[in-house]
């Protein structure tokens, strides 16, 4: 028995040596990619007391379109194809296109929980708009949480937004949230993804950003089956922002009830807004967006056939065509 144990120990040691040592799970670059703070080759923008991962495309003298990615806590990787040319036309033909990873997520700088609030997010977008389009209103295109983010901003700064495309935004206020909160995630105690997620706590605990962001990936693929996102062509990302996600959501909830509202002043926004819904989403699809568009005095709704919630990724040509048609109409 003693010989067996000795041999096991020897083989384990040899195995570790063969694997070139032991990695640090907290070190960016091992389990998750480096952010702008650790990788100076990434395109970055220092603004509003943080550093954003950001890229721009097209002529900066043209009207700006600022893309707002989903989450909170996602990144813009799945939106990048929207800059490409489809059927001979691209958004960059007439517009200056801006992609950015929001505060604390994607490849942007990480922050502690207390930093995150809707006011902070509002200030971040305001600073970005002043930076890329000083004194000139911009167009906002937001997907999912990004659509909520666009509404949050329009609610406070209608004069700075020339128009907006809200692609299947989540609930724009606490009342809408309460109406669907039981449907947002598959929380069946027997579901595989949920058990994998909590079982992971035996292996990795979210005690720093790298481990927290890696752990958060667990729910990305399977936690929202009623959103009918593609399984054969899943939307990619760079890196989740676990703290941004958790803390921004917590900031809008008091005593278990959603108390946020991005709709208080939307009735004063006179410009036309476009809502885009996916055909298959059972939770925040066409019927839900039909209710949400009523918050704006002038809003249209387009449903893209055969699509799920990840419609900008799976149907980029249709998405770009829809955005271009809207821009042509409101210009």
């Amino acid at each position: 028995m003693r010989a067996q144990r000795g041999a096991a120990l020897l083989m384990m040691t040899a195995g570790l040596a063969a694997c070139d040592g032991i990695y640090d799970p907290s070190q960016p670059g091992n389990l998750v990619p480096r952010t702008v703070d650790e990788d100076p080759t990434l395109p970055a923008l220092a603004l509003a007391g943080t550093v954003f991962h950001s890229e721009t495309f097209g002529d900066p003298t043209r009207p700006a379109i600022i893309f707002l990615h989903g989450g909170p806590g996602g990144d813009y990787r799945d939106q990048v194809p929207l800059k490409d040319r489809y059927d001979g036309a691209a958004l960059t033909d007439d517009h200056f296109v801006v992609f950015w990873d929001q505060r604390g997520t994607g490849l942007s700088r990480r922050h502690d929980c207390g930093v995150f609030s809707n006011d902070r997010m509002d200030a971040d977008l305001d600073a970005l708009i002043e930076h890329v389009s000083p004194g000139r209103p911009v167009f906002l295109v937001g997907h999912s949480w990004g659509g909520m983010y666009a509404a949050l901003y329009i609610n406070h700064h209608p004069e700075k937004v020339a128009g907006a495309v809200l692609i299947e935004p989540g609930p724009l206020n606490g009342e809408m949230f309460d109406a669907i909160k039981g449907e947002l995630h598959d929380l069946d105690v027997f579901s595989e993804w949920l058990n994998d997620d909590v079982w992971d706590g035996q292996f990795l605990t979210a005690d720093d950003h790298a481990r927290a962001d890696y752990h958060r990936m667990l729910g990305v693929r399977d936690s929202q089956p009623k959103y009918h996102q593609s399984e054969v062509n899943p939307a990619p990302g760079w890196r989740q922002g676990a703290v941004a996600n958790r803390c921004l959501i917590q900031s809008g909830i008091k005593d278990g009830k959603a108390v946020y509202s991005f709709t208080d002043h939307l009735s004063a926004y006179s410009r036309r807004v476009l809502f885009v819904a996916s055909a298959r989403n059972e939770v925040i699809g066409t019927a839900f967006q039909e209710q949400q568009r009523q918050f704006f005095p002038a809003a249209d709704l387009v449903t893209i056939p055969d699509s799920g919630h990840d419609v900008p990724w799976t149907h980029p040509a249709e998405t770009v065509a829809t955005i271009r048609a809207y821009l042509a109409e409101v210009r």
């Binding site: 028995m1 067996q4 144990r5 041999a7 096991a8 083989m11 384990m12 040899a14 195995g15 570790l16 063969a18 694997c19 070139d20 040592g21 032991i22 990695y23 640090d24 799970p25 670059g29 091992n30 389990l31 998750v32 990619p33 105690v189 027997f190 579901s191 595989e192 993804w193 949920l194 058990n195 994998d196 997620d197 909590v198 079982w199 992971d200 706590g201 035996q202 292996f203 990795l204 605990t205 979210a206 005690d207 481990r211 927290a212 890696y214 990936m217 667990l218 990305v220 693929r221 399977d222 899943p234 939307a235 990619p236 990302g237 760079w238 890196r239």
Partner: protein, 228 residues
């Protein structure tokens, strides 16, 4: 690739060794306290880092040199939400009374664990330890103790999934990771004895080692042990 094959062989060998050792000195966890010569088989189910079911074995061994009874145990756990042999834990350890003053007993439990998981982003195998303090009363027909513990994954082999590499981070590193996670827990354990059967309830709260919230911030299990 070579590393993966070497580690697969290592794990097969290590698991065989651990099972062989367990077969010789077999034991379990969710029991109250055993006297020298007593044995018990245990079954436990409930929420504990997932919806799990465990089977185990324990016995009481008299150590005259220190005037104590050592209670070595072994326990195998599977995540049973959707039975998947990739999500498992196998632990061996021992419980011993540290101090007894009147009706009060202070015991400690130390376990070594091999745990595995396979999920959408990685396949992992962790080498863990779990140290628990148990303070309370063990009577003839019932027991009630407070428990507090610290479990840590000291080494974890992580193999990132194709899904993760294809869609998120192509350069993610496979290999051994040190100190991937630690959990604290505090709660209570109690039970009653009905003939040869002991029914045990455990419940409590759990946090990470830096007191961050876990996705499942509590545990609650029901166990049944048969003594012979």
């Amino acid at each position: 690739m070579l590393c993966r094959r070497v580690m697969s062989l290592l794990w097969a060998f290590a698991l065989f060794t651990a099972l062989a050792a367990a077969a010789r000195s077999a034991h379990a966890q969710a029991f109250s306290r055993l006297e020298a010569g007593q044995q018990t088989v245990t079954a436990e189910t409930g929420l504990q880092a997932g919806f799990v079911t465990s089977l185990g074995y324990a016995t009481g061994l008299r150590l005259d040199a220190i005037d104590r009874t050592l209670m070595p145990f072994a326990q195998a756990t599977l995540l049973v939400a959707k039975p998947d042999p990739s999500d498992y834990a196998f632990r061996v350890g021992s419980q011993i009374s540290v101090a007894s003053i009147g009706w009060f007993d202070l015991s400690t439990q130390l376990a070594f664990e091999v745990a595995g998981t396979e999920n959408s982003i990685y396949r992992g195998t962790a080498l863990r330890t779990d140290l628990v303090l148990l303070a309370g009363h063990y009577g003839r027909r019932w027991f009630a103790v407070a428990e507090a513990g610290y479990g840590r994954a000291w080494l974890t082999y992580i193999e990132n999934s194709e899904y993760y590499r294809m869609n998120f981070y192509a350069d993610a590193r496979d290999g051994w990771y040190g100190g991937t996670g630690g959990r604290l827990h505090a709660g209570a354990k109690g039970g009653v004895t009905l003939g040869a059967v002991e029914v045990v309830l455990r419940a409590g709260v759990t946090k990470t080692e830096t007191l961050q919230d876990l996705d499942l911030p509590f545990y609650a299990t029901l166990g049944a042990n048969y003594r012979f």
